[in-house]
């Protein structure tokens, strides 16, 4: 029995040696950097595509874990990732609790109101009506206020079956942020956040969960991330914006919602007062530390991180957003971000 061990151990060691050797020689041929990021799941299809393209062109490997915005920020705080993805910008209070960071928007999306109404081809909604439906004040499809918005459409005499997200989500945060802006009573009673205590309806996990309930349940209504709704061709309502226009959610109407932005790009663009703007639109950000020397990261790694962000802002990448059902950034967001990236340092030296 003992005699058997020796050859096994030697061959295992030999294998390990050759494997290591192979790895080493490969690395000296071409030095590639491995970057890790984690966070928002909302832009995941866009990131997967862009990061893969990026790897194909320059060899850097990027691993992005869709663990949710909160998780991404937690990982950045722990210093175990190079960048975090988040659907919500950090609040002033959160900014104070950590080292200075730079927010870089990468694309835009929206929240759409999906519905399942047999025999109704198009549905119009307004902010106040949505807020009152979610507050349980409007319970029937043939409510007078819904009828007023949908002249010429026969709305069924049925109860509205509501769906919302059960998991903490940026989608909920954007949606309720909008409700707070359009309804004072919503703001005072329920507020906004990644999870909100909705008084009526049922909840399901993720966009697929909510979309599943809507697809399976006649007379239902729910909110879904636009990237999912566009990809799945889910019927969604037109919304009345601040300008009094009824707007269909689309990449163009989402991009139109970005008005004048602050220097650090941290702002909410829901209920935007712009022409043709879809009112529940949002940015998604990648967040990095201003000072890139942390957790023993090398300068090459820091440079690669900034390089990746610049790539995400480039025209060629922005043009691909709509192929994966997102909306491109407006000019101003790109120019502000490129300027902000100049302030990123390594050991105090600009990169």
């Amino acid at each position: 029995m003992k005699k058997l061990y020796l050859p096994i151990v030697t061959s295992a060691l030999l294998l390990a040696f050759t494997a290591c050797g192979g790895q080493k020689s490969k690395d000296t041929v071409r030095e590639s950097v491995e970057l890790t990021g984690a966070g928002a799941t909302f832009p995941l299809p866009f990131y997967n595509m862009s990061f893969e393209n990026y790897s194909a062109t320059n060899g850097d490997r990027i691993a992005y874990g869709g663990i949710g915005s909160g998780g991404g920020i937690r990982n950045l705080k722990d210093g175990i990732v190079d960048f975090a993805g988040s659907d919500a910008f950090l609040s002033d209070k959160e900014m104070q609790e950590m080292q200075p960071v730079v927010h870089v928007p990468t694309c835009m999306g929206a929240v759409v109101l999906a519905y399942n109404l047999p025999d109704v081809a198009e549905l119009n909604l307004s902010g106040e009506v949505i807020a009152d439906i979610y507050a349980g004040k409007i319970t029937d499809w043939n409510d007078a206020r819904l009828k007023a918005l949908n002249a010429g459409v026969t709305l069924p005499a049925q109860k509205i079956i509501l769906a919302y997200r059960s998991d903490g989500s940026g989608t909920t945060a954007v949606f309720t942020d909008y409700l707070c802006k359009v309804s004072e009573s919503w703001k005072n009673t329920y507020g906004s956040g990644k999870t909100v205590d909705f008084p009526v309806g049922q909840a399901a996990k993720g966009n697929p969960g909510v979309a599943g309930i809507i697809a399976q349940t006649p007379y239902s209504l729910g909110y879904i991330g636009s990237e999912y709704a566009f990809a799945q061709h889910i019927a969604s309502a037109n919304l009345l914006n601040r300008q009094g226009e009824l707007v269909t959610p689309s990449p163009a109407s989402i991009s139109a919602a970005a008005g004048e932005l602050p220097q650090d790009t941290r702002c909410s663009i829901t209920d935007a007062d712009a022409k043709g703007a879809y009112p529940i639109s949002c940015f998604t950000w990648l967040i990095i530390y201003k000072e890139q020397h942390y957790s023993g990261r090398s300068k090459t790694q820091a440079a690669a991180t900034v390089n990746l962000l610049k790539y995400m802002l480039s025209d060629s990448v922005q043009q691909t957003t709509s192929t994966v059902h997102y909306a491109p950034l407006p000019r101003q967001a790109v120019s502000l971000s490129l300027e902000n990236l100049k302030s990123v340092t390594y050991d105090g030296q600009p990169l």
């Binding site: 109860k159 059960s166 956040g193 909840a203």
Partner: protein, 285 residues
């Protein structure tokens, strides 16, 4: 020398599992302490508030404890008419015959189906049926979740019950037949009294399984954080609230979720312990 080595190896691997279990308990307790300190242990258990709004955060576990106990008990009740006949079929009526082996194997197979598949079936098929029958206005809810759970725990209850039914001594049964008892009477007067504690423990172990079931319940229960008032309404269980909200939670909310996890850990441990104790006692009879 070799014997000694072997023994210490065995000892090492035997100690690893209890160590891991203890470690889990320890870290759960440490992370949950924040919630217990803020709200107080009993208040946390008895409060039905789940307010996530920043600044007014207030967490209580009562809706989820209620949801867990409701779904589990209902699942248990619904599972009895499925599992007891199967146990009698395989353990008494057709004992040792081919048809019993087939039925026993098929029932055991149910245990091997991943819970997500039960969830999908419930979501796409059962919800529609429940809505159609008017059992639930929105299809999902405590009743739907319990129904699928009951099917999931049938194999656990049935195969163990069958074992205990098989263990009933033949001389007892033969004696009953000799004095003119019918088969139904033998089952009622001999098998149930003798195998009773064993069958009971089988159901306790099935409860243990239903308590912690996460995926299926999350897909079917409707995930609302209010205290359920009827079985037709939606709710949430301890496992499903953790699965739903863990991803984006931090601070006090994270601590509260972990506290719910700790409570679930303790409830499941106690119930399994009771089941094990009962099995031991039943085997000695």
């Amino acid at each position: 020398m070799q014997d000694k080595l072997f023994r210490s190896c065995l000892f090492l691997s035997a100690i690893v599992i209890p160590l891991i279990g203890g470690g889990i308990l320890l870290s759960l307790t440490a992370d949950a302490s924040g919630a217990f300190e803020t709200f107080g242990f009993w208040h946390f258990i008895c409060s039905d508030q789940w307010v996530t709004t920043a600044g007014q955060e207030n967490y209580g576990a009562l809706p989820f404890i209620t949801g867990t106990l409701l779904t589990t008990l209902l699942a248990l009740l619904l599972c009895i008419p499925f599992s007891l006949p199967v146990a009698l079929f395989t353990g008494e009526y057709f004992r040792g015959r081919k048809i019993a082996t087939v039925l026993g194997t098929v029932t055991d197979l149910l245990a091997g189906i991943p819970s997500i598949i039960y969830g999908l079936w419930g979501f796409y098929v059962l919800r529609g049926v429940f809505m159609h029958l008017g059992l639930s206005p929105q299809g999902s809810g405590i009743l739907t979740a319990s129904f699928v759970l009951s099917i999931m725990i049938v194999p656990y209850a049935a195969s163990l019950s069958a074992e205990f039914i098989k263990m009933v001594p033949s001389d007892l049964k033969e004696a009953a037949y000799a004095i003119g008892a019918t088969r139904a009477e033998v089952i009622r007067r001999v098998i149930f009294p003798v195998a009773g504690p064993g069958i009971f423990s089988a159901y306790i172990l099935a409860i243990g399984r239903a308590l912690g079931e996460t995926m299926t319940v999350t897909m079917l229960i409707g995930n609302t954080n209010q205290l359920p008032d009827t079985l037709r309404t939606t709710g949430n269980t301890m496992a499903s609230i953790i699965a739903n909200q863990f991803g984006e939670a931090d601070g006090l909310k994270l601590s509260s979720l972990i506290a719910i996890g700790l409570l679930l850990f303790l409830i499941t441990a106690v119930i399994n312990m009771i089941g094990k104790l009962l099995i031991q006692r039943a085997r000695h009879v």
